[in-house]
């Protein structure tokens, strides 16, 4: 093309070779695994250290933990489930922080890969959500009432009821977990691809002598997009958590 751009294929951007325990197929560790372990460790450390030395006037890590819990409580649990949902506050807080930290590695130098741009962990988290809201529905409403409430929406005319039941069945039991997974995964993958593309463009411009005048603009856009990716990391963690809360709240309090 014009600049002789050499955009790498997608497998090269998302597949990482193992660097530890190479021989074993179960315990082989690559960059994605390392990022997940670090995200888990950071989440654990914040709440263990924040909870172990409780002071009346919080500062340091205790402050971070308290602000995080307060954010999840006020913006997510109270908005979607009400005070009944407080049982799920620990799970939702952990979920939020874990997703946020594994996303934010996208813009941290030397890692620069959002771990959720691989399929596996969003799938596991979405299945966990699926399991939780189904179990909550069965426990709170009883199995038959739960299925009836989730596939027969109130106030639908008898004539179009069969069609609505099929749509609701597919939507409730298939599309919800699937879209939850795809949303997180595809957003992070798209962000990663955009950053990679602009880095490649910047490198290509740097080599060509004439086009180097465009380089500042391209680099400024790369810089701005990196900032945008911080927002996206936060927003995707928030959206995943709030949708989990909405789904659990929906099966906890059925519409009449």
């Amino acid at each position: 093309m014009l600049l002789g751009l050499d955009v790498p294929p997608i497998t090269q951007l998302t597949n990482w070779p193992a660097f530890a325990f190479k021989g074993s197929s179960t315990f082989a560790l690559n960059k994605v695994g390392l990022i997940y372990l670090m995200a888990m460790a950071i989440t654990l450390l914040i709440f263990i250290i924040g909870g172990s030395r409780k002071k009346l006037v919080p500062h340091g890590i205790q402050n971070v933990a308290e602000v995080g819990i307060e954010f999840v409580r006020d913006q997510i649990v109270m908005q979607t489930m009400g005070s009944d949902g407080m049982t799920f506050l620990p799970y939702l807080t952990a979920l939020f922080f874990f997703i946020f930290f594994s996303n934010i590695f996208e813009i941290i130098p030397f890692f620069q890969f959002p771990a959720n741009a691989r399929f596996a962990m969003p799938l596991v988290l979405a299945l966990l959500t699926y399991l939780i809201y189904n179990v909550v529905g069965v426990v709170k409403q009883g199995p038959f009432t739960y299925i009836k409430n989730s596939i027969v929406p109130p106030g639908v005319p008898k004539l179009i009821l069969p069609l609505v039941v099929i749509i609701e069945l597919v939507s409730h039991f298939l599309v919800k977990p699937f879209s939850l997974m795809v949303r997180l995964f595809a957003n992070m993958l798209a962000g990663h691809l955009i950053l990679a593309t602009f880095s490649v463009i910047c490198t290509a411009l740097f080599k060509k002598s004439i086009f180097v005048i465009i380089l500042p603009f391209s680099f400024a856009l790369l810089f701005a997009l990196t900032g945008f990716e911080i927002l996206v990391s936060f927003l995707q963690a928030f959206i995943f958590t709030i949708l989990t809360a909405v789904y659990i709240g929906g099966t906890m309090h059925p519409e009449h």
């Binding site: 908005q79 795809v182 949303r183 995964f185 993958l189 959206i239």
Partner: protein, 83 residues
């Protein structure tokens, strides 16, 4: 149009395949683009009319964006899966 695209992809012609992927993603982005515009526009109107309910409106807006955006992301993923 879809079977034309599928035939083009089965042809193992890299150029046509790339065009097909572009069309898939481009077509998938039209509807959600309009949808997100509507959601955010109406949310801003609501916030401007009733600033005290801005918190609730913002949460609901993000939910609306997430549901609408999912359709565009299906297209994005499909563009990669398409062979």
């Amino acid at each position: 149009m879809l079977h034309v695209l599928a035939a083009a992809a089965a042809d193992n012609n890299a150029g046509l395949q790339t065009i097909g992927r572009g069309i898939v993603y481009g077509a998938a982005a039209i509807g959600p683009g309009i949808g997100i515009g509507l959601v955010v526009g109406n949310a801003i109107t609501a916030m401007a009319r009733q600033p005290e309910s801005a918190g609730t409106v913002r949460t609901t807006m993000f939910l609306g964006i997430a549901f609408t955006e999912a359709l565009a992301l299906f297209g994005f993923v499909l563009a990669f899966i398409l062979k």
